[in-house]
């Protein structure tokens, strides 16, 4: 059974109902509020509670966004994954409308919120959740709304996510390749887990109905195109394509993926795409995610950290940290932040660094060492000395806890070696469009359990 939800609630940080939409009339707001306030009271940290909970035969699923909770109540056996995702989509839509989704913005916009909730879900079944479609028939500035409203094109099913007749003076495409490195290092300094998650994000300012063609150096893609893979090709473990309102894309054989064109053109061009396996698509206007991929081959951590703890006496501790950049000299990591855990009762911190600055962040029980610019092949040091109270609390026997965490960004560099070989824009008016491609590698979950 597909499972419809009974109601959608927007609650404040204490769990009180700000606004709710009753879709099926079989749950009560009072009951939901009572349940939810109790739930978050119980937890010191609301995020530690599982996002799905059941009470009296009603399943509640919720997410938090800034100071607002979004929650559905359902009596049926629903599809949990899809509803949690739907809630995130609701957040996106609200953000599109109100810039930021928080209690204030909801209070100021009751009417629009109701309108949106009505169009996004009907009788508990998800309907349109694309901000771009919704904004064609629910205007933010309700006061200046034109009387002659027509349902948007997507709703009338004429085309898709891209309207006809878009015009730009300067035609440009920005493609960002962003890779996040996830690393887990154990206390012996061994890498026990590493992977890379990449995303291709686009912003397009293109006139008319352009078709984009994108070439990557993914091995499977290259081989499928019958090209020789000379050294540089990489293997992506898994690719996901993000899609417009109407699923237009991605027909794959094995690992080879291509984006198809919207279905009203599909019949004409399908044959060609069967043979030619480049990624080709008609982009929506503005910014969107094109695809994400994952790579689980082990990579060399771009920033390596070594730590040494010396206990001079029972109450005097010195930590020496060495940070080394393990990438080519021509690249430079920026905004490097190394967070070192220190005991919560540490006092008299004395910190020296060979580069950058370090400060004590008592709210995180950590020392934060910041280096603005960290070129490849360099090594920097940080030495911190601190005292502990000579009388220790009883439960403080083992202070084993947070790992060292590292944040950084390395522009013009992809750790996987993925490259955009070409990005072509084809439009019937044959204008010149400028493609801009930017690479960046940043730290994802980057944890070293060294101390």
């Amino acid at each position: 059974m597909a499972g419809a939800v009974s109601a959608l609630f927007l609650l404040d940080i204490k769990g009180r109902v700000l606004i709710w939409r009753d879709y099926r009339g079989d749950v009560s707001a009072v009951q939901a509020e009572r349940f939810f306030t109790k739930l978050i009271e119980k937890e010191v940290d609301p995020e530690s509670h599982s996002p799905v909970a059941i009470d009296d035969g009603i399943s509640y699923m919720f997410i938090q966004h800034s100071n607002v909770f979004l929650m559905t109540a359902a009596r049926q056996n629903c599809n949990a994954a899809s509803i949690l995702l739907f809630l995130h989509r609701v957040v996106d839509v609200f953000k599109h409308y109100f810039e930021e989704l928080e209690e204030e913005s909801l209070r100021d916009n009751f009417v629009v919120v109701y309108e949106l909730l009505d169009e996004m879900m009907d009788f508990g079944y998800p309907q349109y959740t694309e901000a771009k479609i919704l904004s064609e028939f629910i205007k933010t500035d309700a006061y200046r709304m034109e009387v002659a409203q027509r349902p948007p094109m997507a709703v009338t099913n004429a085309v898709s996510w891209r309207s006809e007749g878009i015009r730009y003076k300067k035609n440009e495409v920005f493609l960002d390749v962003i890779e996040s490195v996830n690393i887990l290092v154990n206390s012996n300094g061994q890498i026990i887990r590493s992977d890379v998650v990449g995303a291709l994000k686009m912003r397009t300012y293109l006139s008319g109905m352009p078709e984009c063609k994108l070439g990557l150096n993914d091995r499977v893609l290259l081989e499928a195109q019958g090209r020789t893979t000379k050294g540089k090709a990489i293997d992506l473990d898994d690719i996901k394509f993000h899609q417009g309102p109407f699923d237009s894309l991605a027909a794959c054989q094995g690992n080879v993926c291509r984006l198809l064109i919207p279905y009203h053109l599909r019949c004409v061009r399908l044959a060609r795409f069967e043979n030619d396996r480049t990624i080709s698509f008609i982009p929506p206007d503005g910014s969107f995610d094109l695809m994400t991929y994952r790579l689980s081959t082990q990579v060399k951590p771009p920033i390596w950290v070594e730590a040494q703890v010396e206990k001079h006496s029972r109450s005097r501790i010195e930590i020496t940290v060495k940070a080394r950049s393990q990438f080519k000299e021509r690249s430079t990591a920026t905004n490097v932040e190394i967070e070192l855990p220190v005991p919560s009762d540490a006092t008299n911190l004395n910190i020296r660094t060979s580069m950058g600055s370090a400060s004590y962040a008592p709210e995180n029980d950590a020392l934060v060492w910041k280096i603005k610019s960290f070129p490849g092949g360099k090594e920097y040091m940080c030495r911190a000395e601190f005292s502990l109270p000579s009388i220790t609390a009883e439960d403080a026997t083992s202070e084993k806890k947070a790992p060292i965490r590292v944040k950084f960004e390395i522009p013009y560099f992809t750790i996987s070696g993925i490259q955009v070989r070409y990005l072509k824009i084809i439009e019937k008016s044959a204008y010149q469009a400028l493609p801009w491609v930017r690479y960046i590698t940043r730290a994802g979950e980057y944890e070293l359990r060294l101390i």
């Binding site: 597909a2 995130h88 009417v111 709703v155 154990n186 473990d237 996901k240 699923d247 994952r294 359990r449």
Partner: protein, 833 residues
Amino acid sequence: MAPPPIVQQKSSSPSQPSGKSEVSDLKLQLRQLAGSRAPGADDSKRDLFKRVISYMTVGIDVSAAFSEMVMCSATSDIVLKKMCYLYVGNYARCHPDLALLTINFLQKDCRDVDPMIRGLALRSLCSLRVPNLVEYLVSPLSSGLEDGSPYVRMVAVLGVLKLYHISATTCFDSDFPASLKNLMLTDSDAQVVANCLFVLQEIWNLEANKSEEANRERETLLSKQTIYYLLNRIKEFNEWAQCLILELISKYIPSDSNDIFDIMNLLEDRLQHANGAVVLATIKVFLHLTMSMTDVHQQVYERLKAPLLTLVGSGSSEQSYAVLSHLHLLVMRAPMLFSSDYKHFYCQFSDPSYIKKLKLEMLTAIANESNTYEIVTELCEYAGNVDVPIARESIRAVGKIALQQYDVNAIVDRLLQFLEMEKDYVTAETLVLVKDLLRKYPQWSHDCIAVVGNISSKNVQEPKAKAALIWMLGEYSKDMPDAPYILENLIENWDDENAAEVRLHLLTAAMKCFLKRPPETQKALGAALAAGVADSHQDVHDRALLYYRLLQYDVSVAERVVNPPKQAVSVFADLQSSEVKDRIFDEFNTLSVVYQKPSYMFTDKEHRGPFEFSEEIGNLSLDQESMDNAPRFDESDKDLLLGTSEREENGGTSINGAATPGYSAPHDYNSSLVPLSSQTQSEPAVTSQTSFAIDDLLGLSMLAAPEPPSLKLNSKAALDPGTFQRKWGQLGVSISQEIPISPQGVGSLTTPQALIRHMQANSIHCIASGGQSPNFKFFLFAQKDDGSASFFLVECIVNTSSAKAQVKVKADDASASEAFFALFQSALSKFGM
């Protein structure tokens, strides 16, 4: 200024600011504006409406302004209209008399030139939920379904479902389901098609218990034609509708393997969808389609791994949680397939604890010879975690891995190291584990006891851990020089010990210790028995008395009772039976997976699909705790009831099956049930003896189509499985007989569902069923429709090859059982006609 009319505050809640004066003020202003055609009147109206809506949202009852709002609704301004619809929708249900006022203008708006307004008005009209206004819905809905604008059609389709929930008969009388079916197969707009499918599924699922026709309709939704039609258009649908269609496809029964491969090839790219829900729905299709093809099923698992692992790592933690729950299910079904991916389940420091918990369970499940070392090392890192519940879970996980027999040696060392960490909760968890380990591997007792002996019982406070420690003291008192004295100490503090569990263990440990080292323990045992007999807890008192009398009677008998030679436990019983696990697997991609419970355990009956209702197989073998004293069905029953589960898949779970024989149900319970393994041979003999009043009944069965007797059955009878089992155990057999089944009936009995549906139409409900051709077994029940809670319980074993049904009836009211049997027989004889 004229005084405002009397305001009737109907349901203003006392906790809210009453806002009475504001409401009357608003009413007044609205009234003034109602007729105004002045320029700018719309703007002022908007302001007022906005205020009304704000009041409504914050909980102030503004229903008093209903008529004024309706008066102001005559406008062409769509924003005003929307606000007005919102207002009306909010108050119509509690003020049905006022709702009547709105019908007129809503109906008019349904004929507006603007499709937006038509759609919105229709949606509001259907959302009023006022039963006596149903008649006004039919004609706007029928024209809405034929509207030129897909927006209006989309709204109208869901309107039909709303109508169905207000008045099902009106919905069927207007033949809306048929229109929807037609629309679903012809409409050009994908969202209209999707909504048709939502509606038809919901209606037929709810109706399926009531009528045969609804069942047929439900099956046509699953016909090859419909499925292929939707499959071919799947890319036109938005992501939510795709999930729905995929869900439908997962129930489709393919005609042959080509069919399966066609569908899988067509859906292959859905695994690459960025929406995790679509990916999960696709995975469900793949898993269910390949159920019968073991090797392909394995390959499917392999294929699914990469997309699932990517999904876990991307997106919000809530999404990861939903995906991980499903991964968890798959890992539990086929742990060996994931054994090389263990690193993906390592916990990040920043993971929320609900995610960490799932990851720990998965790490436990996939541990095998090759990865145990790494996994245990990782788990030991968590034992010092700041998050204490997770630290506990990690220690338990280490213990569970040890019990799985991999690399026990190293693990025992690690556990003993935990004890040296001297953290109370670590010690507590570890003690429990060491106890379990010793029960399984007595050969380790020497190493463990040396360390356990050093633990001061003062540092152990948690009852479970204390009980474990005491158990070890008793069991290994020979090897622990201090044992009698530690026990003595504990017994001295008997009154401070709150947990009965601990006191019970203390008694037994004192007994064991006494039997091994009498002179040292005698005093302690005496004290323990005295304290035990005086204990206010019934169990403690009874046990103390039992020991006391045993010792009085004969010490060697006491020895045999308390200290018999023990066999090492080979497998600890799993809490969840494999049927329950299979049910959860059937409900893949629903809340069941997140809760790790089949849906019948957490949803109300009316919110379940017919499948869920009629096949409550799992209930019959729920974990024992949940139904104390309930008779357990025989092991062979369980096999038969397993039905669809493919056991060779469950490398990990097959242990559970093996664990059950150890549990011997009390004999008298078992004897009331017929062991199914011997059913075909011994059954007729048994029944011919036990059946009485047979002449009478035979006479009935001679009639070709016996008249249904006057007994009326309650068509909505409900009985929960626990009660069923209890009753079945308590009641005696009132009728047991073999009856023939018509050849047509045999022909249509390919799955148990066919018969279940048929019997349901005759108000006889199924509580559990199972089996494969030629043997099927059903447990059915029915209730008298005279307000009494009198139930009839039936066990029906059908053998299709001999075209016979073996029926046993038990009844609360034995005098009515003959009438019921006749009814049952007549119902069965019509099966397949």
